[in-house]
Symmetry: C2
Subunit: 322 residues, 2 copies
């Protein structure tokens, strides 16, 4: 990769990837509308020569301009508000599926042929096999978010077959680490800062989840990119650790790190929200086969996240619009 466009390049993963690529001497363009991306995350990248294209990935002209001259696109922009999909039933379609189609079309027109895509373990729905491998039985979607990402994967695969693209699809677990701005750790953190005496947990607290440290995620994406450099075809990689953690243990880890002992109240049920998975545990043998391995455990990644939130109260404690 000589010059890479990162959509969502001011976001949690995108900005981390941008910094890493720049450090490796790769030219970087960043497309972001700063709805969830943050300007402070790209200050360093812009100082180091990254180009910024500010606006919506659904803006076709902007997208074409951003892709022009790039040989690869890391398409990380997405609506990641998994839990509220049902409140805006077409938002995931627009921002994840249609946006991905527009990216592919702009790539085809501008001559870029390599795409990396941030998919999700949610595409497995509620799988029957754990840890879940990439070729698990045909899944049933349980969330609009998962459905929209699966649709994006399908579009990428069709472009690989039809137009000779190289497509690298990364099915993530949830990520943790520096620049983390949404998800259960920040929700719990904010709640405990407001009231350290109690914490309300969606579901029964026994949902079993997997997490990955953002730097380990970026390293995995680069491992796969290097492995397939110059090739084509459609390649899927699960990205996660080989551990899981139940929500209650996650809460205990957070509380302990913050020196708190809140009373935990469960809302009940096996799922925190419609489409929540009671168990996420991905088989990562395929990406490990490329020599990659995570450097941090889930607990260490939670600690790293909390330390970063403590050091960035302007983000950690900002008012979240309803």
């Amino acid at each position: 990769m000589q010059r890479v466009l990162i959509t969502g390049g001011a976001g949690f993963i995108g900005s981390t990837l941008a910094d890493r690529l720049l450090a490796d001497g790769v030219q970087v363009a960043i497309l972001d509308d700063f709805r969830t991306g943050r300007r402070e995350f790209v200050v360093d990248a812009l100082d180091r020569g990254a180009d910024l294209f500010e606006g919506d990935v659904l803006d076709r002209d902007l997208l074409a301009a951003a892709i022009r001259g790039c040989d690869a696109v890391m398409h990380l922009q997405a609506n990641a508000d998994v839990r509220r999909g049902l409140e805006h039933p077409q938002r995931d379609l627009e921002q994840n599926t249609i946006a991905t189609s527009n990216v592919l079309e702009a790539m085809r027109t501008e001559g870029a042929r390599v795409i990396g895509f941030s998919s999700t373990g949610s595409v497995y729905g509620e799988p029957a096999v754990f840890p879940t491998p990439e070729d698990a039985p045909f899944p049933e979607q349980t969330s609009l978010y998962g459905a929209s990402k699966l649709a994006g994967e399908g579009l990428i695969a069709a472009y690989c077959h039809g137009f000779g693209f190289l497509g690298l699809v990364f099915r993530f677990v949830s990520l943790l680490g520096e620049r983390y701005t949404h998800g259960h750790v920040i929700d719990f953190y904010r709640s405990l800062k407001r009231d350290p005496s109690r914490l309300r947990v969606l579901g029964d607290g026994r949902q079993e989840k997997s997490y990955l440290y953002v730097q380990d995620c970026v390293e995995a994406m680069l491992s796969a990119s290097g492995h397939h450099a110059g090739g084509d075809g459609f390649h899927v990689y699960n990205l996660g650790t080989d551990e899981t953690i139940v929500v209650d243990d996650s809460v205990a880890t957070i509380a302990e790190r913050l020196g708190l002992a809140p009373e935990v109240e469960h809302t009940g049920g096996a799922r925190g929200w419609a489409g929540d998975s009671p168990l996420i545990h991905l088989d990562t043998a395929r990406i490990r086969g490329l020599g990659w391995a995570p450097t941090l455990s889930i607990r260490e990644a939670i600690h790293r996240t909390l330390d970063w939130l403590e050091a960035h109260p302007e983000i950690a404690l900002e008012e979240v619009p309803a």
Copy 2:
């Protein structure tokens, strides 16, 4: 089902289903823009009291009006021009995926909760397991058509989980029979009518396909609808016969029925076009488990199709726009 909207209700499958539902005493609404649907296919249905909503399924107001008062939608409208997906890379997205999302949203708003969906065996891509069951390993899409239908399936599944819909997804092989207006039989038929001495066949002629008679398909959809009546959840059924036929044998069957002996010329390669499947053979044990079985063999269905084309030269031999 008391009152059913059939999108694509003037098409090959849709109009056949409309006639059957009306014969069963079900109220029918038909939505069609007559781009590929045909007025002569719905003359009888309209005479018997079906309501016609003429226009594009992407017209949200029309869609809402058509769904109003219906308890179920059979969503059969689609761009079915599988082979030319690469010439219009966003057409399948618009007419299959976005259209399906709009149908689901209109259903949610209008209070309809049951959807039947014409998916395709193409969602299996090039599967590793034959005959291919519904829970085959996680597929890789090889065509924009398959990708767009898989995306539609995912949206339906998410609505079943999120909004309590009943979703019935039918993964068809290609269909044959009365009112057949596009596909290899009509292509070969037209070519042989122009020049009975020779026939050009895409690929090596060894592609192995499966076909189903349209009346058997409609019967299967009604079997599944009856079985799940009053329930909810997401249910997938392969629809096909337990046979396959190679393209060359299909050609021989057609030539013999027409009393011709053309010289067959192959363009070569295992695939007729990018995204063509060298082998389609679906496992239909699940739908057979509901007591359904096809009544016609593939050869009989080809004969039925040819007889209908011979009786309808105004359709069989019309000029096809490029």
